[in-house]
């Protein structure tokens, strides 16, 4: 028993290694559980957020009835999907029909093995990080094609083929954008770029500049290409042709129902989060706070600042930005209290007001804990990373609210005729500029 | 504990190669034949990477990447021929593919 505990503590002492790299199986499992649970909660939250934000964009209120302001709506949905009867079409191919959602979920979840939430907060740090992510995300195409074929009727098959054709063609554009970002990592000290996600973010830290602003227009253009390809890759918003096309009914997951459909639903949202976390890591400096290099005048406040470990910067700006996590939670708590106050006085709403007040109190408590120095230092990285990913999620919902749908041939035209050439152009330009920069500096 | 040497990988590669050859020889369906060819190419790749691991250096892996690209090209053209053939002959088992021009 002692040996096991010692094995567990051994990881805690290694300062800057991810559990996978440190070869510590136990902590890797813990991280996997954390990421898995965190992702499911994020997907549920996304479900609620999407319905509410989309509703408010469209001059309506969105789910209000289940729980205060519809907060329990996602749980109700999940329950409904679990209880619904799970139909398998008559002569559908049972094995393939059963396997397809698992391939899609597998592809959507394994991407998170490499996503760096912080310098040490990633399940493992493979030195082919990005390559692994792109590879696994291309597996979900297989799941969709098999799902479409297994339901053995015309429209799902056409929908599946269309959506996989779309995903395959946008993967190419995505790859090009990623390569041009990785090119930028090769400019730091030791001269050779790195594929590993943590390495990329450290490169951005070393060059003290997010890649979106590097070589001014190029980083931005590459980011724009990735953002568009990202939306197409997950069949969302303007590119959601296979699902919601009026003559193709609901695309590849028409025949699925109940639990299997929720698997597809889960996979779609986690794929969205996965792809936007790639974008955040590559262009927006994963867990770096907004102005990585700026520190401002170094100040010391009695036992609150500077942070415990000597290496951390002690600037005023760091202090302010370190307070952000706590402030956001307090702000959320404030919103909850504001809405409890405005809750109608009717007895029917009494439970909901109590629930909301309790929820607000919990948020306030978390906010206060986040101000406590030791917690604050550890949570800082994860907070900034998830804040950026949340920004992307809002972007997804915003797209869905405003854009009509592309026709299939226009969709392919954009993919091949517009994104690909620009991607190649950006790649060549970044390479030349990077080369020139290294030559002049030599 | 058992020390994995190249021999183990070679035996595995050979087994895979055998499976591919059996597939090519016995199956009538062109698609399955193409897939067995993929199996054979994978077996070759396995040997390449195994040797590159045990002899140090990365030449084996680089060559394995070239083999993969070649497999992709071959699969694409193979399936192209298959589609053209299927459109004219409505059937795809190998026995009928005996004319060079139809």
């Amino acid at each position: 028993m002692g040996q096991i505990i010692q094995y567990i503590q051994s990881y805690l002492r290694t300062k800057d290694l991810t559990p996978g790299a440190a070869g510590n199986v136990f902590w890797a499992l813990v991280y996997i559980m954390l990421v898995f649970a965190g992702l499911s909660v994020a997907v549920i939250a996304m479900n609620w957020l999407e319905r509410k934000i989309l509703a408010h964009m469209q001059v309506r209120l969105g789910p209000m009835r289940v729980g205060p302001h519809g907060l329990l709506q996602p749980i109700a949905d999940a329950l409904k999907l679990l209880l619904k009867e799970d139909i398998i079409p008559a002569e559908a191919d049972a094995l393939v029909f059963w396997v397809a959602p698992f391939i899609v979920v597998l592809a959507a979840f394994t991407v998170f093995v490499v996503v760096p939430f912080g310098p040490t907060h990633a399940i493992t740090d493979m030195n082919i990080g990005i390559l692994f992510m792109l590879g696994v995300s291309s597996l979900s195409v297989l799941g969709i094609v098999t799902a479409g074929w297994a339901s053995n009727s015309h429209y799902p098959l056409i929908g599946a083929l269309r959506s996989s054709a779309q995903m395959v063609s946008y993967e190419v554009a995505m790859g090009l954008a990623v390569v041009s970002a990785i090119l930028m990592t090769s400019l730091n000290a030791e001269g050779t770029g790195t594929l590993s996600m943590i390495g990329i973010v450290q490169a951005q830290q070393a060059q003290a500049e997010w890649f979106i602003f590097k070589f001014f227009p190029l980083g931005l253009v590459a980011f724009a290409i990735f953002a568009i390809a990202m939306v197409a890759e997950t069949n969302r918003a303007p590119f959601d042709l296979p699902e919601a096309e009026s003559e193709l009914t609901a695309g590849f997951h028409t025949e699925y129902s109940g639990f299997r459909w929720s698997l597809f639903f889960l996979a779609e949202y986690s794929a969205m989060i996965a792809v936007s976390s790639i974008a955040v890591t590559l262009w927006l400096g994963g867990w770096l706070r907004p102005f990585p290099a700026l520190h401002g005048p170094s100040i010391t406040i009695a036992h609150v600042w500077p942070p415990a470990d000597p290496t951390a910067p002690t600037g005023a700006l760091d202090f302010v930005l370190a307070l952000f996590p706590g402030l956001t939670f307090l702000f959320l708590a404030g919103m909850c209290f504001y809405s409890t106050v405005r809750m109608p006085k009717h007895p029917f709403f009494r439970i909901q007001t109590i629930g909301l007040a309790g929820f607000g109190a919990a948020l306030a408590l978390i906010g206060l804990i986040l101000f406590w120095p030791p917690v604050r230092d550890r949570v800082g990285d994860i907070y900034w990373f998830s804040a950026k990913v949340a920004a992307f999620m809002y972007l997804y919902i915003w797209y869905r609210g405003t854009f009509p749908r592309y026709r299939f041939d226009q969709l392919m035209k954009v993919g091949w005729k517009i994104l690909l050439p620009i991607g190649l152009g950006v790649l060549i330009l970044t390479a030349t500029v990077a080369l020139l920069q290294t030559i002049w500096h030599l | 504990m058992l020390h994995i040497t190249t021999l183990h990988y070679l035996v595995l590669g050979a087994a895979l190669f055998l499976l591919g050859v059996i597939g090519v020889l016995t199956r009538r369906n062109v698609v399955i034949v193409l897939m067995s060819i993929e199996l054979i190419l994978n077996a070759v790749n396995l040997n390449l990477v195994a040797f590159s691991r045990f002899w140090g250096g990365v030449h084996g892996q680089v060559f394995a990447i070239f083999v993969i690209t070649d497999a992709a090209a071959e699969a694409a053209v193979g399936l192209g021929i298959l589609i053209a053939f299927f459109r004219n002959k409505e059937t795809i088992n190998i026995d009928e593919v005996n004319l060079l021009k139809w």
Partner: protein, 387 residues
Amino acid sequence: MTDPNTLSPPSLETHVAAHDDTFLDTNELVINMGPQHPATHGVLRVILRLDGEKVLGLECVIGYLHRGVEKIAENRTYTMFNPYVDRMDYVAAVSNGLGYCEAVEKLLSVEAPPRAQYVRVILTELNRITSHQLWLWTHALDIGAITPLFYTFRDREEVLKIFEKYCGARLTTHAFRIGGLQYETYNGFEQEVKNFLNFFRPKIDEYEELLTTNRIWVERTRKVGVISGEDCIALGVTGPVLRASGVKWDIRKAQPYANYKNFDFEIPTGQNGDTYDRYLVRMAEMRQSVRIIQQAVEGIPEGPIMAKVPKVMKPPVGEVYHSIEAPKGELGYFIVSDGSTQPYRVRVRPPSFVNLQALDMMCRGQLVADVIAVIGTLDIVLGEVDR
């Protein structure tokens, strides 16, 4: 255009079965966009002949909503038939009523008093706005834009409130009577209409902001379902579709009725008759309606609201054809009376029925996804098509 025997339904089923399994062969695939399809506005069945994705030919099968209104009219008195008229184009019920009442008044050679005519113009133009709003909602939804749906509905409620206050019903209003109006306008009617106008003017800009410069919207509608002016006239297509193809024909200007002559408003026209121009024409028409209502509300004269019309009408033997500019096009009534209290024959010329004939011409060579966009821009209502 499409000779019926190649498309007659019995051969269709065998045709579809033969080509069911192989996708890749070259000859065309025939599919039904069935009567309960999400994108056809009501019960319209479209038989599409496809070559892969491109539409070769198209035939509309209608009649699923046929209620035999015209036959019923033959044993109803003139006033009893009035509510039936609203059920035909249920989206623009008020303008149906106006058309019918004016036709019968022409038969009786009776003139509705000016106050009645002003109120009629206000209500018809308000109804035109609601009809265009509903068109914008369904059309945008088919192409994928979800948000306009809610904006248009929020504004449509205001108009429906005014209808409800005036004549008790929101959709099938039955607001007019032969010879004028049934009820005096409730006090505050003018004020409420003015409030609505001020409320609605910025709202049209809101719709425009959402869609007009939206790149994907333009790409989905530009050069889709193109039809030239001559074809429109040949096919008898009228209304916004005709005006979008460049032909400046609006019955309110050409044959003014219900003293439209003393309101000044332009007739918006498009150039190349594609879906985008039809969209612009309809948006501009909404603005023109606001202008007309503005002038009508300010100039409402005092006076009686009902002309002297006998309780039991026995119009002289004869026939009359009277057409008005309904939101979807020229809505005509041809009434033949044999001197008795009941019309001998009532023939309605609905704009949607005639515009539907142009669907095949517009969709030829387009893609399947465009067929839905074109059905949307034609703004057809099946109640009117099938009668």
